[in-house]
Symmetry: C2
Subunit: 209 residues, 2 copies
Amino acid sequence: MGVAERKARHKTELRQEILEAARELFVNEGYRHVSMRRIAEKIEYSPTTIYLYFRDKEDLMFQVCEDTFRQLSEQFEELHASKAGAESVDPVEYLRKGLEIYVNFGLNHPNHYKVAFLTEPERGQESAKYCEADTMAMRAFGYLRQAVEECVVTGQFRDGVDTDLASEALWAAVHGVTALLVQYPEFPWSARDRLVAEVINRMITGFRK
Amino acid sequence: MGVAERKARHKTELRQEILEAARELFVNEGYRHVSMRRIAEKIEYSPTTIYLYFRDKEDLMFQVCEDTFRQLSEQFEELHASKAGAESVDPVEYLRKGLEIYVNFGLNHPNHYKVAFLTEPERGQESAKYCEADTMAMRAFGYLRQAVEECVVTGQFRDGVDTDLASEALWAAVHGVTALLVQYPEFPWSARDRLVAEVINRMITGFRK
DNA sequence: TCTTTCGATGAACAGCGTTAAGTCAAGGAT
DNA sequence: ATCCTTGACTTAACGCTGTTCATCGAAAGA
């Protein structure tokens, strides 16, 4: 009964092919400027075929972003793993590195970041789709929260710092600088590195004892 | 020769009517979900008439946002004026109030905020349109910078704080929290007020002596 | 060989932003 | 009073869009 398996394999392959074509177009041209017909053309299938694999255009983009944010999670995991190897790591420095990874990830994948966080969602669809517990973006947020908690329990942070509140505030801050740099690259910002470091450092200083 | 004047008056009236209809639709339903045809229907004119008054849909939205951000500038001016009346004002508290005004403005005009800062711009058009020097948004940023400078020159901030860098960093932080709250209102954030205050307070603490 | 299954498609729908050509009333000129 | 011009406005259309539905056709099972 290898037939069903071969078919299934082909199905997942085609699905992957669609995802890759869509990713390339979305990343280079942005969500709004890519049509289903162009994606179909790129993979040399009919536009309707895509709908056999993805509910609609938004779902397709969501899956593309999931793949990308999986990479972000993996970078966090690498960081986590490197900590296990080292002798002893300053929890605050660990947190700082995580925040830097986050911002750099956004700067290196601007269109994914735009779509995931800077695109007006379709009406009626929950805007919080990317925020649901089982998404890659939320998994990444989990790493951030963990790093913050480490700072709290080891007494690096001031008394009374709430882990959840602090995590959200830090996320908001790094999201802010990432979003502005990604969306308005032409704006005469101070040097990117300096600005990113400034946001991260000032926030951390605000929390640190 | 009152004829030309009457015509000109009628023209500006109709222009205003279009702006108001567009504002209501955009604010209630979001940029992407409002069509030129629906705006035209609302004002009981043909869709093409709108193009006699605005270059295209994006230009129309830009003008709507300019009107709204003018309100933000006015709120900053009010704050500035209230300072002139008072005996002596702590520059840091003045800055904090400005930041709070900014965030609350975004939370009170979520769709304007989305369009101005969270909408993927059309291809080929400069994304930095809202960032050009003569826009209302940039005028508002000028107020922020001024408030930061006041903190720097009165010695409220740590040594070596760069006014431009600090202004951008603060803007990034408040933009971040505003953007996340506006875009993902369903996310189980900590209480809005607390989160906003956390971001602002930690940043200010990071700068303050 | 006949039937069923199901992935893929062509044609179509309703809507979009935008443009070119045309209409028609009002104002100025003779 | 008639003609001409101006210009605000509309009608019709173009080339798109995302999406759906009925249909086709090849491969698998009976």
